[in-house]
Amino acid sequence: MAEKFHTELNNLRADTLEMAHLGRFMLRTAVDALIRQDAELAASVVAQKEEIHQMEVRLEEHCYHLIALNQPMAKDMRVIVCTLKVITASLRIGRYGKVIANIVKEISDKPHIANLMSIPHMADLVIDMVDDAVAAYESDNLRLIDDFSSRDDTIDALRHSIFREGISYMMEDPKNISRCTHYIMVARYLERCADHACKIAENVQYMETGERVEIH
């Protein structure tokens, strides 16, 4: 009986990884579409919204089902708790991908201001965090996430600098206002994705050690 449950738990984790990879893929693709001003690529991200949403529903149900039928304890319980958080975080990351993809459509008519400022660099760092958090969930390797606190600080600093730089371009020329507002929003979404990566990291830490930590 326990064996069957543990097989199911492994399957749940594998399926959750797949969802996490989809969320990460939507975010990466949306940022690429933004950089290249590729409306078609952006539309492909928007089209994936339904798929990731259905994954969320299905995986959450699987978690509830496993809890109801097995009353998991100790590490088994912590794996399911962590998995539920990974599911939610992955959905959010994917949805921010979709939101960024929608912005691409609105601003692909004219070239970018200042080569998108630090947005491409910030996006690389955020996606690295998502990758490491998800890899830690996959491999139980806590070393991948031990510097998340300082990485999150870097992300906050980048968002702030994009904000200030955006404001200065707006003051230079009011025609930049709409475009720069979008950039500032994108930086904000990226920062939220880093927060979701931190949430995953916190829960992987809990899954592994039973200790609750908070990453700021």
Partner: protein, 253 residues
């Protein structure tokens, strides 16, 4: 565990003939709390439980070393009166074992043995014990019927009432629900929750969910050793020892 301990064992070893069944077990049982003992079959749970009221004395070729205190008194000291000890430390077994007598007589038996003769006093003890054991309403109309006519769950609660009648301090329960259906089990579990207001309960159970539901502290035993003992929430959420983790997640046992 910072709570005051009612029973403390220090380095207890026990052998049946040559076979060692307990190995340097040191545990503190907090007063007015429920402590659960879990572990795979044969790990020594019942043996340890039987040490607490010296029921092992009744088995031939048992050798026990180490120290066990109840209220700071060594229960293996020569001066200890075993009858008084077993009055203080009552026991409820896996299979309900009422005497083939009336419901009333089952409960009145213990107090009588301990010298209570007054009818009104016995009536009072019987009613109060049956009430404490949450079975009064079900049997008050038929106290003179045979106890053997009760259902398994009722018999088990009657046995608990019989234990309560001699006013113990500690109640030992060795798999008290394993012969009961879920409803009877729920009644016993609710009862255990109430009993800890007045008594200390130590329960052996194979049902991990039951240990998690009813106990404040849980001890995990393996091959005669106490591997880990702590707050039940901690043991079932994140045990310190990998052995405990593997056992409660069903990876062996």
């Amino acid at each position: 565990m910072s709570e005051s301990a009612i029973i403390t064992t220090n380095n207890v070893n026990l052998w049946y003939h040559e076979k060692q069944a307990l190995q340097s077990v040191s545990i503190k049982i907090p007063r007015n709390r429920v402590t659960a003992l879990i572990g795979p079959s044969g790990c020594g749970k019942s043996t340890l439980l039987r040490c607490f009221n010296r029921l092992n004395d009744l088995i031939d070729h048992v050798k026990c070393t180490g120290e066990i205190t109840l209220d700071d008194e060594n229960i293996y000291a020569p001066s200890t009166d075993v009858v008084t000890l077993r009055k203080k430390v009552g026991m409820v077994f896996q299979k309900p074992n009422p005497f083939p007598k009336s419901i009333y007589e089952n409960v009145a038996y213990g107090p009588r043995v301990h010298g209570i003769r007054d009818k009104a006093e016995l009536d009072r003890i019987v009613e109060q014990s049956l009430r404490h054991a949450a079975i009064w309403d079900e049997v008050k109309e038929r106290l003179n019927d045979s106890a053997l006519g009760l259902s398994g769950g009722q018999q088990q609660r009657l046995c608990i009432a019989r234990t309560l009648a001699v006013e113990p301090e500690v109640i030992l329960m060795d798999e008290p629900c394993s012969a009961l259906d879920p409803i009877a089990t729920a009644k016993i579990e609710n009862l255990i929750e109430r009993l800890k207001e007045d008594y200390t309960v130590i329960i052996v159970t194979h049902n991990m969910q039951q240990a998690a539901r009813v106990s404040d502290y849980t001890g995990f035993m393996y091959l005669g050793r106490l591997i880990e003992c702590g707050k039940t929430g901690q043991i079932f959420e994140h045990p310190k020892e990998e052995l405990t983790e593997n056992y409660i997640t069903g990876r062996f046992g």
